[in-house]
């Protein structure tokens, strides 16, 4: 899941680079060529790609945590198998993306440690709680749906190793989305209680889904290095519009209502009112909607979301408690596991 659209890639000015090499580099990108790790690239590009791939890898790993909680409580054997496979896929995606990042010059251990100590970020949406089974359905429909829209465009990027990884990830991602659709459709075809639970989960996840694509575009987004160097190929706002154009009519047809909500510090909805901006603009052909609360977005990204501390603490626990296992497999030096 989880593309890296909202990672802030602050690329330094490239004026210190050799102009000839820079022109050659830009020409390769403009010609649609894929870059390989041993190609010359501006230092800022290498740094930006590393940040993007590392953020993406972190998001895969942390994204598995809320879903993992539900494996034991899945409502049927098939759903349990599917969720287990999905969580396994996400962790695998994390492994693949850490590998891409390692080749750009940072060790895996350093990345895992920076994630745990909060030096690097992961996707904001995993700082929200998943209190009901319907949240799992919504994560797989909305968040994976958003991730696919994003990752399809990232697979058109310029950096070969990342692009190849993205293609493989997308092929696995198709299962996550289809099973998410299946869950949402099943719940919305079910009892009044199931429908109510689904609506409540939708209310919790609609905002984070809109935020998924990152903050609103800067006015010159198309000319900034991430786009010019094809690290990204579509802007945040363009992706968000594609997402709402697909999901608003689908949600409405399912019988879901789209609300503007306020939440408490635990991520639970405290009040809601219908989003009265929801309408298809016949002139543009696009759906209109109320923008998410960007103050909340920045608050959560700075570490003050409902689940930030919980997610990182769990990651820290598994890193520290897994240390004796890693030692044992590397050099057989570990003795007994530490007492829990």
């Amino acid at each position: 899941m989880s593309g890296s659209a909202n990672v802030g890639v602050h690329v330094d000015h490239e004026s210190q680079e050799d102009p000839e090499l820079l022109a050659e580099f830009q020409a390769k990108i403009d010609a649609g060529q894929l870059l390989e790790v041993d190609d010359w690239m501006p230092a800022a590009y290498r740094k930006g790609m590393l940040m993007m791939a590392e953020h993406h890898a972190n998001s895969e790993i942390v994204g598995a945590l809320p879903e993992g909680e539900w494996i034991t409580r899945a409502p049927s054997l098939r759903r349990k198998l599917a969720l287990t496979a999905k969580v396994q896929d996400e962790v695998g995606h994390g492994q693949m993306l850490y590998r891409v990042s390692q080749d750009l010059g940072k060790s895996r251990d350093a990345m895992l440690r920076d994630l745990i100590t909060g030096k690097t970020k992961y996707h904001n949406c995993f700082n929200y709680p998943a209190p009901e089974w319907a949240d799992i359905a919504m994560i797989q429909w909305l968040i994976d749906g958003a991730a696919i829209m994003n990752q399809k465009t990232l697979a058109d990027g310029a950096y070969g190793p990342y692009v190849r990884t993205m293609r493989r990830i997308n092929m696995e991602e198709a299962f996550h989305f289809k099973s998410g659709e299946d869950m949402v459709l099943t719940l919305m075809s079910g009892t009044p209680l199931q429908k109510k639970m689904t609506q409540q989960a939708f209310d919790r996840w609609w905002g984070p889904s809109l935020m998924f694509f990152g903050p609103p575009d800067k006015p010159n987004a198309h000319n900034l290095p991430p786009m010019r160097w094809r690290m990204k190929t579509v802007t945040n706002d363009e992706l968000r519009q594609r997402f709402v154009d697909r999901f608003i009519p689908a949600a409405l047809d399912l019988g879901l209502k789209i609300h503007v909500v306020t939440k408490d510090e635990h991520g639970f909805v405290t009040s809601k009112k219908p989003d009265d901006k929801i309408a298809l603009n016949k002139a543009t052909g696009h759906w209109e909607f109320t923008a998410p609360d960007w103050d909340e977005f920045f608050r959560v990204i700075r570490g003050n979301g409902p689940c930030n501390a919980k997610r990182l603490a769990l990651r820290r626990m598994s890193y520290e408690q897994g240390r004796w296992v890693r030692q044992a497999i590397v050099d057989g030096s570990a003795s007994l596991p530490p007492a829990a």
């Binding site: 894929l34 390989e36 041993d38 909680e69 034991t72 409580r73 098939r78 198998l81 599917a82 496979a85 999905k86 695998g92 492994q95 693949m96 850490y98 590998r99 891409v100 390692q102 080749d103 060790s107 895996r108 251990d109 350093a110 440690r113 100590t117 829209m149 399809k152 070969g160 692009v163 190849r164 990884t165 493989r168 997308n170 092929m171 696995e172 198709a174 299962f175 989305f177 289809k178 099973s179 659709e181 299946d182 459709l185 099943t186 919305m188 075809s189 697909r246 009519p249 047809d253 501390a309 919980k310 603490a313 769990l314 820290r316 890193y319 520290e320 240390r323 890693r326 497999i329 590397v330």
Partner: protein
């Protein structure tokens, strides 16, 4: 459900344990049908060959039918690209596996084996076979004895029902369920954004 997650102490700050060495990097190649070449699947990190094969079976061997896996340590690969510089050091004659990357950005695919006394010599031999440089972008070679491989007849792809973990296991059901909520036109529009390539 386990209460473990509710009891996790919310610790922050620096880690107590010291930094660790990374595991060894491997390039994984999968063979989808008997007699076909091994095709680049991706990378993974593992402590040793056995662990690499176990991870590879799970991560690269379960998306589609797969009959064989090779795990090649990254540091055993030499190539015509700068990422994997070829050693000139001459040793005894050994067998090298050649991998061909057809075009820039594509994955490498296994080709023939050559006998050589060094990786550099193996690359030269491979280039003598693949004389037309327009037919490929880069070459890799790896000493055959360093390639970890699943055995013949080893079952990798599980023949039990895997539909729960593949997109195609849901497609028909999902479409049928949608038709109860949506007309054909809006459903078609919605499906335009589906991933066309899927396992």
């Amino acid at each position: 459900m386990s209460k473990l997650r509710e009891q996790v102490e919310l610790v922050t700050g620096d880690l107590e344990s010291p930094p660790e060495e990374d595991l060894r990097g491997y390039v994984i190649f999968t063979q989808l049908k008997m007699g076909q070449p091994h095709v680049y699947a991706g990378y993974l990190d593992a402590a040793d060959d056995d662990m690499a094969l176990i991870f590879a079976r799970e991560h690269y061997g379960q998306d589609q039918e797969c009959v064989g896996i090779w795990a090649v340590p990254v540091d055993a690969l030499s190539g015509t690209d700068a990422t994997h510089p070829a050693s000139q050091d001459v040793g005894g004659v050994e067998m090298y596996q050649v991998f061909i990357q057809a075009r820039r950005g594509a994955g490498h695919v296994s080709a023939e084996t050559v006998q050589a006394r060094s990786p550099a010599e193996a690359i030269e031999d491979a280039q003598r076979i693949h004389t037309d440089p327009s037919k490929y972008y880069s070459l890799w070679v790896a000493p055959q004895h360093l390639i970890a491989s699943t055995g013949p007849g080893d079952v990798i792809w599980r023949y039990s029902d895997q539909s729960y973990r593949l997109a195609r296991g849901y497609s028909k059901d999902v479409r049928e369920k949608w038709t109860k909520f949506r007309d054909e036109g809006s459903l078609k529009e919605y499906e335009k954004d589906d991933l066309k390539e899927a396992f």
